[in-house]
């Protein structure tokens, strides 16, 4: 019997718009916008926010992987970020890419990270100030991270397979149609070359959206506990792997499980369905 929590495990990881208004000019705070719509930042953003693009800034441009530690240090340095900077991430699509960017920052060991609850949509809906002025900050000298925390928060295909074989929790956060194998991409999104549909054997379907309210904010702790702990059966201390199609929606769920519910050992399989659904011999369940 689990007692439903009345507050998030790490409530300090969420900030609201009023907090941003009060702290956006603090020297040790950097607001970072990360979107799916690649030109959205250019159309207007929170004053003082910098733009980090998930493809061009966080991913290696040749190999399917994240940037190397020295490139991460360069990225932070040119955006005026130091290891002591609190990075507040926000973006479109209920913070998918904001969570993805936060997760990538955690991969490189950056510790001070937060999410603007409700993201860009809520900020805009509240009629808060936006600007087109591109924010510039004095260059810093962010030290090159000594390691990438792949082992701790990232899962690779062989690890997802091991998870499947051992019967440990695997959470598929895609839409029900993608999970069942009826479609290989989200409705409203282009088909991006996945050859097989379905899900990793043993995975449970918990679409990312079950964690959010209509205004893109996260559901209360009690609701999240009901969804993930009671209904889905996740337990603290058990290895859990989450995945979606390219790792962005699963970053959102990874954030919920790690920070809002306080589960340890949650890893994001960012190769996700675009890797699994194309991988020769990878076992697949449908329906």
């Amino acid at each position: 019997m689990t007692t439903s929590p009345t507050q998030y495990a790490h409530p300090e990881v969420l900030v609201d718009a009023d907090w941003i208004e009060k702290h956006r000019n603090d020297n040790d705070v950097r607001i970072i916008e990360s979107n799916e719509d690649i030109l959205l930042y250019d159309t207007g953003h929170i004053p003082g926010a910098v733009h980090i693009d998930w493809r061009t800034d966080l991913q290696d441009q040749v190999i399917r992987d994240y940037i190397a530690p020295d490139k991460f240090a360069e990225l932070c340095s040119r955006n005026g970020i130091t290891p002591d900077t609190t990075c507040i991430f926000y973006g479109d699509k209920a913070n998918w890419w904001a969570c993805y960017a936060l997760w990538a920052f955690r991969l490189f060991g950056h510790e001070k990270v937060k999410i603007l609850n409700g993201g860009r949509d809520k900020w805009k809906a509240e009629g808060r100030t936006m600007t087109r002025e591109v924010s510039k900050y004095p260059q810093t000298n962010y030290p090159m991270p000594k390691k990438r925390f792949d082992k701790e928060i990232r899962a690779f295909a062989d690890e997802a397979l091991a998870q499947s074989k051992s019967g440990k929790p695997l959470i598929d956060v895609r839409s029900p149609g993608e999970f069942k194998g009826e479609i290989t991409h989200m409705a409203e999104y282009p088909q991006e070359g996945v050859l097989r549909g379905g899900h990793i054997p043993g995975a449970k379907s918990v679409p990312w959206k079950t964690a959010t309210n209509d205004d893109s904010t996260f559901k209360p702790a009690g609701d999240l506990a009901k969804i993930y702990l009671e209904q889905c059966g996740l337990k603290p201390g058990t290895d859990t792997v989450v995945y979606c199609r390219i790792g962005e929606r699963s970053s959102h769920t990874w954030f919920v499980l790690t920070y809002l519910l306080g589960l340890d050992n949650v890893r994001n399989y960012d190769g996700s369905w675009t890797e699994w659904g194309n991988k020769v011999g990878a076992p697949i369940e449908k329906g």
Binding site: I38, L39, T43, P190
Partner: protein
């Protein structure tokens, strides 16, 4: 050879450095609303639908004047992405005054010259969407014209 209005837009974009290219795309996106139908306008064809390739509903409206040249209007749902908004304004302006047949025969390689290699790479699936919809309505118009001529 592209229609002169479109050629001018292509030349403009090709002359811009990447940052200004993005700024210009955003300016065009800002103007997408001006491409909506005006009160009282009548159209030969209207095609309003929500496709999987696009995040929201897109409406294409075709007007063909007495000289047989086409004029386009478009409506975009609120979720349509910025690049698609930009292409809407660019194509409504750039293709205005051409015949439906000319629009249909237009090669699509100019899109990459406007959008630029970087944005093409990250949004290769969606940048052709608006052109495809405009060509689609021209094709339906021409098919109907041919059927009417045969009947």
């Amino acid at each position: 050879m592209y229609p002169p209005k479109l050629e001018a837009i292509i030349n403009l974009f090709e002359s811009l450095p990447e940052i200004e290219r993005r700024e210009t795309l955003v300016s065009y996106a800002d103007n997408a609303k001006q491409q909506e139908p005006r009160p009282g306008e009548k159209f030969a064809l209207e095609d309003v639908r929500k496709d999987e390739e696009c995040a929201d509903t897109v409406g294409v409206y075709l007007q063909v004047d007495d000289e047989g040249t086409a004029h386009f209007r478009m409506t975009l749902g609120p979720e349509v992405q910025t690049l698609t908004r930009a292409m809407t304004a660019i194509l409504c302006k750039g293709l205005d005054g051409r015949t439906p047949q000319e629009v249909l025969e237009l090669p699509s390689d100019f899109v990459t010259r406007i959008v630029g290699a970087e944005l093409v790479r990250v949004r290769s699936q969606t940048i052709y969407y608006v052109l495809t919809r405009i060509k689609g309505i021209c094709k339906v118009y021409l098919d109907r014209q041919r059927m009417a001529a045969v009947a």
